[in-house]
Symmetry: C2
Subunit: 337 residues, 2 copies
């Protein structure tokens, strides 16, 4: 690798470690580059021309630009093995999780803890899951509860108001029919499948069955039900000391579910790193996202990641996110609860 790139790598590493602009002299000291500060200055001048680094003011050291970080993660970052403590933390953290809420909750705390950044975890997406069971419960007083259970352990319920009293027999038939049709299918296939249910039924329970069917469809389709949880917002302190100008807008953005969804949206496929201005959203342009899908290999059911300042430890973050995602993926597909 050319020395110029070696210098860039050194700059990124030092800047991430010290949080201060790095100068030619300290670079020469801390890294065994085998050349003098003057030579490094020449390289730095080139790197600056090409837009990989910049200086905050004339007589200061250099700081990587977003473009510099991009080059770093794409070509210069080695894989950083997890520390023993981290590996142990990951393995013990999910022990004893009782249900999906619990798993997701522990995961997001774990991620924010080991990366010391804001962690973002999306629940297993409904549309990418398959139906394990649909239960219809007669609550009496004309109410019916519909419970939708997915293979990823996600449980959605909705209570609907039937117009008239509901007979258990009718409900039982409907339940059997719906389950026979839906179990094992992906949720986004349901609309096509369920369309056939309503017409086939007797006139008597027509009202009920169409109500039930339409409610199930609502539950299956409704994108707004994509849930995302956050943790570690206190770590946003790393963004800087001027709360109102750097942290506040980020905090505001993170409170919008829509923003979060868009943020994680296209990270599902593989490990994704989005740096600074690569975010569409203006208020996030001081931050970087490291995210990946989790779940069945090659067919992720959800996304998780961390958000931190562009000046972050990319190799470490990538390693942590990948490890946690893999572990949670195994956990979900094995025990399935």
């Amino acid at each position: 690798m050319s020395r110029k790139l070696e210098v860039l790598r050194a700059i990124v590493e030092d800047y991430v470690a010290t949080e201060e602009p790095v100068g030619s002299k300290s670079l020469a000291e801390r890294h065994a580059l085998g050349v003098s500060p003057a030579t490094i200055r020449n390289d730095m001048a080139l790197l600056e021309e090409e837009g990989f680094i910049t200086q905050p003011h004339t007589s200061a050291g250099r700081v990587p630009t977003d473009k510099g970080y991009r080059l770093f993660v794409d070509r210069l970052a080695g894989v950083k093995p997890l520390s023993g403590a981290e590996r142990r933390a990951i393995e013990s953290f999910l022990e004893g999780a009782v249900d999906l809420d619990d798993v997701i909750g522990r995961t997001v705390r774990l991620l924010s803890q080991i990366t010391r950044q804001v962690a973002v975890v999306q629940y297993p997406s409904l549309t990418r899951s398959t139906v394990r069971h649909i239960e219809l419960v007669n609550l009496g007083t004309r109410r019916v509860m519909i419970v939708l259970i997915t293979d990823t352990g996600r449980v959605e319920q909705r209570i609907l108001d039937a117009k008239e009293e509901v007979s258990d027999i009718m409900l039982g038939e409907l339940r059997a029919r719906v389950n026979a049709l839906c179990v094992g299918k992906r949720l986004n296939e349901l609309p096509d499948l369920l369309i056939s249910v309503a017409p086939r039924t007797d006139k008597e329970d027509h009202v009920l069955s169409s109500l039930v069917v339409s409610t199930i469809l609502e539950m299956a389709i409704e994108q707004s039900e994509e849930r995302i949880v956050l943790s570690g917002t206190a770590n946003l302190a790393r963004l800087g000391t001027d709360f109102s100008h750097s942290v506040r807008p980020v905090l505001e953005a993170l409170e919008e579910q829509v923003v979060l969804l868009r943020l994680l949206g296209d990270a599902a496929e593989s490990m994704t790193v989005r740096i600074g201005h690569e975010h569409e959203l203006h208020s996030l342009q001081g931050t970087s996202l490291v995210a990946t899908g989790y779940g069945r290999a090659g067919e992720p059911v959800g996304t998780m990641g961390i958000l931190g300042p562009t000046r972050m430890d990319y190799p470490g973050s990538i390693a942590s996110v990948r490890a946690v995602a893999q572990y949670v993926g195994h956990f979900l597909t094995e025990s399935g609860s």
Copy 2:
């Protein structure tokens, strides 16, 4: 009311409005106290002796102390009627909520929005709710799902691993027995009631029924299942500009469920205001809490409130919290879904 208290009231109001220490001259101008600045200075000297106000430095205006705020909310704060916009916001915000999650989510956003503070809402407490229905669902492959539905619309589910295949008939019997016993009862009565279930059953389903019973008990008792949601953390900007020293510790505290529970713990009965050092937790001593219970009148099912800087608009916050709590209370007990 004595003029001295009038002066204190004026100081609190001005300080809350301007966020700046208030001096005798501007006080005399802005409020029709009918006396000269010099007189006000005398009163202020007395108030300072008694510990109600203080000056940040020798030649600055006065700022209320926690003790001053306390006196203000206890004896000096009038009731501030809600603005039309606020009333309208409250009434329209809960329209179209589909389930309890939705109601709580909308509530917490609403509260943080109209008070412009951090809002905290506790889910209807399990122990204070009554059982509407308990459903046992046979998922096949030796799994049984238990769904617990409360009168407040809260739905808890847990999946348990029976040691052997479960017959629908057995499950049906068990379901009937459990429901007959529990429906309409408060969750904290369940332990006493359920203790009688296991022994009475045949040997055959003994294992299953005791498993089910113990799981239901877990669900009913487990304090860790008290859920609390937050919104509006971006509003913590109002605490000050030095993130690390004022905002960060608060954010950290708010991420701990335990802390939140303790925070809302004794606010259930009636409108509670906790100011600055009245908090046990050191990191919250720059903040004030305004909280109240909500639910059936005289018998709250949960707690909600807002957290902001001690320098906050108490009358306004109290009015908003009370109004939202009442509205949500009605909403939950009426529609019950």
